[in-house]
């Protein structure tokens, strides 16, 4: 396999600065990163460490101040606004903490919207949305407005929407930040299924639960990576002790 087939995201010396001179803030400071196709990567760190900014750069929601950024072998740090908009529409799916659903549209319509914006026919968008809502276990809620759905259900609609244009990459910013323990598990299950289906996931989070289920975990502080952990494999057979069931 050549590189673009194996590596989906590559960043080199990536920087994002705000302000100038005395008030200069380096939100992302010389980050090097490679995300393999099919990998689930979690990035953790305290608020303000630059993890959301990094996610926005990778997804073309923002532009780097310096450095190089590649998506599927294509350099994207110098794309025009138009090209970036196309990239966000076709290559990348976003999931946010606060869902960002349109309140006046049904679940079905919310999921159809990105497909319609990408120029698909209404019939095709409808079919795709129905299929996605079924995949996230919400086929029966397709006609509900977001206000009639629980937090966990809203986030699942948002995940379905992120998949509307069959992106190569899904970027999630604190996807379980507003969810209780049970709803978090629903979202974890869904990510796990997407991961198993080969989708590449980059998730920025405070939530150790997501971090623990990723293949790789990067810790970020003050705009740079400070630690990297590969969690796949790991310990086995602890469950019994953890539950306090070990024999006396």
């Amino acid at each position: 396999m050549n590189e673009p087939e194996k590596v989906l995201v590559r960043a080199q010396g990536l920087r994002k600065e705000y302000g100038r001179q005395g008030g200069l803030v380096r939100a992302v400071n010389s980050v090097d990163l490679e995300v393999a196709r099919g990998e689930a990567l979690a990035i953790m760190g305290p608020s303000g460490c630059g993890k959301s900014t990094l996610l926005h750069l990778i997804g073309g929601l923002d532009r780097p101040s310096a450095g190089e950024l590649w998506l599927a072998g294509r350099r994207i740090d110098r794309l025009s606004e138009r090209e970036l908009a196309g990239l966000r529409r076709h290559e990348v799916g976003f999931v946010f903490q606060a869902y960002h659903l349109m309140d006046e549209l049904t679940a079905q319509e919310n999921v159809e919207l990105p497909a319609l914006l990408a120029g698909r026919s209404p019939g095709e968008a409808r079919r795709r949305a129905r299929q996605l809502l079924d995949q996230v276990g919400l086929a029966e809620r397709a006609d509900h407005l977001p206000s009639a759905l629980s937090g966990g259900q809203r986030q699942r609609v948002a995940i379905a929407r992120a998949l509307a244009n069959e992106p190569q990459l899904v970027l999630a910013d604190e996807p379980t930040g507003n969810l209780d323990s049970a709803a978090t598990l629903e979202v974890l299950r869904l990510f796990e299924a997407l991961h198993a289906a080969g989708l590449t996931l980059v998730i920025v989070t405070h939530d150790e639960r997501i971090a623990a289920t990723a293949d790789r975990l990067i810790s970020m502080r003050d705009g740079t990576f400070v630690d990297e952990t590969h969690l796949a494999g790991g310990t086995r057979g602890n469950l019994v002790d953890l539950a306090g069931l070990g024999s006396e």
Binding site: E208, T229, L231, L242, L245, S247
Partner: protein, 173 residues
């Protein structure tokens, strides 16, 4: 596992060993699989010796169909146990003192110890999450696994606090 667990399960109705085992399996899900098969029978033996249960042969069956049932003393012990407020100890002092000893002796970097511990807890959390994801939505075991997840999260948060405090300490020393 506490003997009282087996005792309390017998409070529903007189049962055979394999029936108790099946009920435990349902309640524990993937955790039940790891439980030793003989454990239930060993416990039943101890409870019988202590006078909390009696054994009789179920009517119309072969001799190995033993039916266990609570004695009045067993009944009393179950009631007592249900009202007890025992709770597993968190046992954090050892780790806390490890950090202090390492820092004071200059033997190891406390932050390094915290990082190592965090990785270990994340691996455990991963294992529990995987088990939880595999459970159906309304399984009894799911609730137990959720409890383990929440405790591990609490431990991970404490490690965050350890990291914060020891980072300050390092920058001052």
């Amino acid at each position: 596992m506490q003997q009282e667990v087996v005792l309390a399960m017998l409070a529903k109705e007189p049962s055979q060993g394999y029936q108790l085992r099946a009920r435990l399996d349902r309640a524990l899900g993937p955790l039940g699989e790891a439980m030793n098969d003989g454990q239930v029978y060993v416990t039943l033996g101890r409870l019988e010796k202590a006078g909390f249960i009696t054994r009789r042969v179920a009517a119309g069956t072969s001799t190995d169909r033993k039916l266990y049932e609570l004695t009045p003393a067993g009944q009393e012990r179950v009631t007592e146990w249900l009202s007890e407020v025992s709770w597993p100890k968190p046992d954090l002092a050892e780790f806390h003192l490890k950090l202090i000893a390492a820092a004071q002796a200059g033997l190891a970097d406390p932050i390094g110890i915290v990082d190592m511990q965090r990785r270990e807890l994340l691996r455990r959390l991963r294992e529990v999450e995987r088990a939880a994801m595999a459970e159906s939505e309304h399984s009894d075991a799911g609730l137990l696994l959720e409890g383990i997840v929440l405790r591990l999260q609490a431990d991970l948060r404490w490690l965050e606090a350890c990291e914060r405090v020891w980072t300050e300490w390092r920058s001052k020393s």
